[in-house]
């Protein structure tokens, strides 16, 4: 049990988040659930995905690239990196011309 249930919504834009929203849209459309239920599911998703990514996901990777731009605004770090080379767990390499990393504090400002 946690004392307060307030989580970022940023993972709603991930593939898994979008897939969930599509599914809920479909269920609302066919009248199988109420929009309020869908909203609660999304709130539960925000919590679960944050916790699972923090606790359960052990995959990791290293990457190297050229830091082009960085900023820190409203407790959010943003990095724009060019010519990036990712080294994945399975030793595979993935390259990208540019990437953007948006990094938020695990706890929202003022919640600690």
């Amino acid at each position: 049990m946690t004392t307060a249930g307030s989580y970022y919504e940023l993972y709603r834009g991930s593939s898994i988040g979008m897939a969930l929203i599509d599914t809920l849209d479909e269920m609302v459309h066919t009248g199988r659930i109420e929009p309020q239920t869908a909203m609660k599911v999304m709130t539960a998703f925000d919590k679960s995905i944050t916790e699972v990514l923090a606790d359960k996901v052990k995959a990791r990777m290293n990457f190297k690239g050229h830091l082009d731009t960085y900023r820190f605004c409203d407790e959010v770090w943003t990095f724009l990196i060019k010519d990036v080379n990712f080294k994945l767990d399975n030793q595979n390499n993935v390259t990208a011309d540019k990437i953007k990393i948006v990094s938020c504090n695990a706890k929202k400002p003022g919640e600690q």
Binding site: M1, T2, T3, A4, G5, S6, E9, R12, M18, A19, I21, D22, L24, D25, E26, V28, H29, P35, Q36, A38, M39, K40, M42, K58, R60, N62, Q91, K108, G110, E111, Q112
Partner: protein, 995 residues
């Protein structure tokens, strides 16, 4: 109602209380899903009817607790859903009824479930906006104390809560606590933040009464057992949860609740109360440490370091991981995280120092991490936080560095030492007993230690690197192989962190000059495979060292080639050879002969598999690639291709012996070796391109000159296997991979093939070809970049590809076997043609089939063809630099298909499409708006089209939306306008996904 018969479609009709009661009992009996669902529907109908109030009251009179529960539930539902049907007088009567029921049931041995549901109904009542019930806790205490419903007079000063509480029975006190908990929980359960904010004030008004109750119940000794205390702690916990939300959103004053903290803390010393109290404090420390005052934290520190705490730590170190010790460990770690700054900066305070010692002790408990020891990974996370805090302080502090920094750094060294001991690999006798999860957990801990080492380097600098290297040399001398493995693992972890090349060279030279490689090759020493593997991995971690110190290459490569003979090491050694040869290729050209000989020996070994051959042959090809002239490369490449021919010969033998699997395996091996050579022969990305250099003299070497025969030989091998077994996906993929690296080459080479080779491979594909999508993607890759080929050849190739794609689409339609992947790859290929080969594309016969297919794909359920079709149209509708004649053809195509495209896009955006696809549809729409003069007209017609899917938006909304879209002229804001329109079309209830 015949309640015994639930079959059939007809709904159940309920007329009397008896029928309802019977049905409720039936609901709680096991039964088929359809029956339960039907009963629920009937009961819900009753609950929502005007009669529901009466039934709720009547059901509570039953002797069946399930029926009573249902009665209380019905009250709750009626309050939430049908409140408007009550007058002010009715509402007052309802309150009296609910309290009366509480009084009647509270001491009757009725299950908690029923009483709590009644409390929930009272909470729901209290939170209605227009009720006159003030100070509900005081009122309830009064009623319970009097044994009947007393008038609700909020202004009246009666006896104090504390004096009344002491007279109450345990069940009555529990009722007060459950009601209070319900108030706090309701805010958490409320859906929208608006709703939550509405509750804050009303719920906050009860803090003082709750605290007064809890101050008595948390110290109550006149009630035997721990139920009262546990419920009190849970109630306090819920109110902290409420306070957290209210503090964030409404800046709630926390002081009124804080006096309860010391009362809860006392219970940490009481065995009966320990579990629930530890949970409370762990949660507060993790999620809301601000709630605790500095005095609370210091009191906790004292409790965490007392003799009982030290006993628990001693038990943990002995490997006693039961509920009590684990919950203590988590509390300790949570405390560490919450007070990390004090722990780092005030380690001279005795309690803080002791806590740090204990947290360090958590890293040296008995057992392997993730297997027997469940606490060390959590403790390590604290030490990561600690290290990061030190790093932050190091950068933010001015010179001289704070005095505490030295001691703190030393502590991180101790942590690394403890972790080093923990990551040592057990013997294989132990690891074979582990299951997959345990292996993964142990591996994860080692990786966490890697992270710690990388972070700590910023803090500790080269000292740690030097220390580890020294330790490795010591282990090497003493032949303690598990220690050596752990140390090499740590050195590997630091590879990306150490930036000082001189230091790395100096330290690694000592290590590589030692007996490391010789010992690892020595078969008489019983060195664990893992130690050898980690030693091999070390080579791949420090490629720059070998680049700078080429004298170390021969013994290292000798070691690696010898390692290929050991089955457990072969793959990792092959990979190390490949990466080393790639990095140090320029220093190894003189060794090509030796490498070829090594491969010769290697290929005769039965233990060597295809992966190893592929890696090593690629490694040699990488060295050949840097030879100065194409003629120099011809010899070594010829030998390598001869080695590949051996696999071809082997495949033939297998075929003759009717060994189909061996035949395919040899074919795949041959093709993958060629693919590996092709990849390694590509010019490195970092090579300087001399734009003025004349490449003509060698341009024909591989196509018409001395190298032509060898290139033809390679093509022959590819064609042979691709022709014979193109139903094997590995063969198809490897064949394509032989061709692909050449596409981006600016200079000729053995693996830079004429376009005709790719055209031949693509045209030979049929619907039966495995990975047909990959074949078409290969064609796209060729069209995308093939700088050395003439424009004429490229146009010819593009036209051939498109004709082939159209034939494949036709064949799929005829056979009614649409493969979405092939569709997507085919459309992608067409989209890739548009920028450079539109002139050829629009002249392909039957090109209208392509337009029609892409329009169909835009509405088809499969995602990839849909995306490809959207990309195609986004590319096609743009303005292109073409001759007048071509412009006319493109314009005619747009006039024909533009309106239809807009109808489809608008239909999808108007609610037919999924929300996740809106960005996909936005791209072609933006391009249409930007580039097509008739866009506004097409879109207006599409919005008025009879197939527009929504009636939620009228002509005005459509007009406004169109105007917005047109004004944006394809700018990025279009995506948001599209999303808003989609929600408007679907209905505002779909706005739930984003606040």
């Amino acid at each position: 109602m015949d309640s015994n018969n639930f079959e059939g479609e007809a709904p159940i009709e309920l007329r009397s209380l008896e029928e309802v009661e019977k049905l409720v009992r039936r609901l709680y009996l096991p039964g088929p899903f359809q029956e339960v669902s039907k009963i629920q529907d009937a009961l819900q109908k009753i609950q929502r009817s005007q009669e529901g109030w009466r039934f709720a009251d009547a059901l509570l009179q039953s002797h069946d607790n399930n029926v009573r529960f249902f009665g209380a539930l019905t009250f709750l539902i009626k309050i939430n859903k049908d409140w408007e049907s009550l007058s002010g007088e009715d509402a007052n009567l309802l309150l009296d009824t609910l309290i009366q029921w509480l009084l009647r049931l509270v001491d009757g041995g009725i299950p908690k479930l029923v009483i709590r549901k009644l409390c929930s109904a009272l909470v729901a009542y209290y939170l209605r906006p227009d009720i006159t019930w003030k100070q509900p806790i005081r009122h309830l205490v009064q009623c319970l104390n009097e044994g009947n419903v007393v008038p609700n007079n909020p202004g009246e000063q009666g006896p104090s809560i504390s004096s009344m509480i002491s007279q109450l029975s345990l069940p009555s006190i529990l009722v007060i606590l459950w009601f209070s908990r319900g108030l706090a929980e309701e805010v958490k359960a409320s859906g929208s933040s608006l709703e939550t904010h509405k509750y804050y004030e009303r719920v906050s008004a009860n803090i003082a009464d709750t605290v007064e109750v809890l101050q008595l119940t948390m110290v109550a000794v006149n009630h035997p057992g721990s139920t009262l205390f546990e419920e009190s702690i849970s109630c306090f916990h819920d109110w902290i949860g409420f306070a957290h939300r209210a503090w964030i959103d409404k800046a709630l004053e926390l002081d009124p609740l804080r006096p309860l903290t010391p009362l809860a803390m006392v219970a940490l010393s009481n065995d009966d109360m320990y579990g629930v109290t530890v949970e409370l404090f762990t949660d507060v420390l993790v999620n809301f440490p601000t709630f605790l005052t500095p005095q609370d934290l210091m009191s906790l520190a004292t409790l965490l370091t007392n003799s009982k705490a030290q006993d628990i730590i001693a038990r943990l170190k002995r490997g006693d991981h039961d509920v009590e010790t684990m919950s203590f460990a988590r509390l300790l770690i949570a405390y560490g995280d919450a007070a990390v700054q004090d722990l780092a900066e005030k380690a001279d305070v005795q309690q803080f120092n002791q806590i740090l010692v204990q947290l360090l002790d958590l890293l040296s408990c008995e057992g392997y991490p993730g297997v027997e020891d469940a606490v060390c990974d959590e403790a390590l996370e604290f030490w990561m936080t600690y290290t990061e805090h030190l790093i932050d302080s190091l950068f933010s502090a001015e010179e001289p560095k704070p005095a505490w920094m030295g001691g703190a750094r030393q502590r991180v060294v101790s942590v690394i030492e403890a972790c080093w001991a923990k990551i040592r690999m057990p013997s294989s006798r132990v690891t074979v007993t582990w299951d997959a999860d345990e292996r993964a957990s142990f591996g994860n801990f080692r990786r966490d230690v890697e992270d710690l080492l990388q972070s700590s380097y910023t803090l500790l600098g080269p000292d740690i690197f030097e220390k580890l290297a020294h330790l490795a040399l010591q282990s090497l001398q003493t032949h303690v192989w598990s220690d050596l493995e752990a140390t090499l693992f740590c050195l590997n972890a630091l590879a990306d962190a150490v930036a000082n090349a001189d230091l790395v060279d100096q330290i690694l030279t000592r290590l590589f000059d030692s007996s490391l490689f010789a010992d690892m090759m020595n078969k008489t020493l019983s060195i664990p495979a893992k130690t050898r593997q980690t030693a091999v991995t070390m080579i791949t971690k420090y490629p720059e060292f070998f680049e700078r110190n080429v004298q170390h290459l021969p013994p290292m490569l000798n070691f690696l080639f010898r390692s290929l003979e050991a089955p457990g090491l072969a793959n990792v050694a092959a990979k190390a050879i490949a990466s080393t040869c790639l990095t140090c290729r320029k220093s190894l050209t003189s060794e090509i002969g030796a490498f070829l000989l090594q491969y010769e020996v290697l290929s005769t070994l039965e233990s060597v598999d295809a992966y190893v051959k592929e890696k090593v042959i690629g490694a040699i090809a990488a060295i050949v690639q840097v030879l100065p002239t194409e003629r120099d490369k011809l010899g070594p490449f010829s030998i390598l291709v001869q080695y590949v021919e051996r696999e071809v010969a082997s495949s033939k033998s297998s075929l003759q012996a009717s060994k189909a699997e061996d035949y395919q395996a040899s074919a795949v091996c041959a093709l993958e070796c060629l693919a590996s050579m092709a990849k390694a022969s590509a010019t490195p990305d970092d090579v300087v391109i001399d734009l003025d250099a004349d490449i003509q003299p060698q341009a024909q070497f591989w196509t018409e000159g001395e190298g032509a025969a060898l290139q033809a030989q390679v093509v022959r091998i590819v064609k042979k296997f691709y022709g014979e077994i193109n139903w094997n996906s590995d063969v198809v993929k490897a064949s394509c991979q032989v061709l692909r690296p050449g596409y981006k080459e600016n200079t000729p080479g053995l693996f830079v093939f004429p376009t005709i080779v790719t055209v031949g491979l693509v045209m030979a594909s049929t619907l039966q070809t495995a990975r047909l999508d990959y074949v078409l993607d290969t064609a796209s890759a060729m069209l995308n970049r093939h700088p050395v080929e003439s424009e004429f050849n490229m146009r010819h190739a593009a036209t051939s590809f498109l004709i082939h794609v159209l034939n494949l689409i036709h064949a799929m339609e005829v056979n009614r076997a649409i493969d979405p992947d092939v569709n997507a790859s085919g459309i992608n290929l067409a989209a890739k043609m548009i920028p450079r080969y539109l002139h050829s594309m629009i002249r392909v016969p039957n090109i209208e089939k392509l337009f029609e297919t892409t329009l169909v794909c835009l509405e088809a359920p499969d995602l990839m063809p849909k995306r490809a079709a959207a990309d195609f149209w986004a590319a096609f509708v743009q303005k292109h630099e073409l001759s007048d004649e071509d412009q006319q053809i493109v314009r005619a195509a747009m006039q024909q298909y533009g309106p239809q495209l807009c109808v489809i896009l608008v239909r999808q955006i108007g609610g037919d499409g999924s929300r996740s696809e809106l960005d996909t549809f936005a791209e072609p729409l933006k391009k249409v708006v930007f580039a097509q003069p008739l866009a506004k007209q097409w879109l207006a017609n599409a919005l008025d089209h009879e197939e527009f899917p929504s009636t939620n938006v009228g002509p005005t909304e459509k007009r406004v939306w169109l105007q917005k879209i047109m004004n944006l002229r394809g700018a990025r804001g279009t995506n948001n306008v599209i999303k808003d329109f989609w929600i408007a079309c679907r209905g505002t209830e779909y706005s739930y996904a984003y606040k």
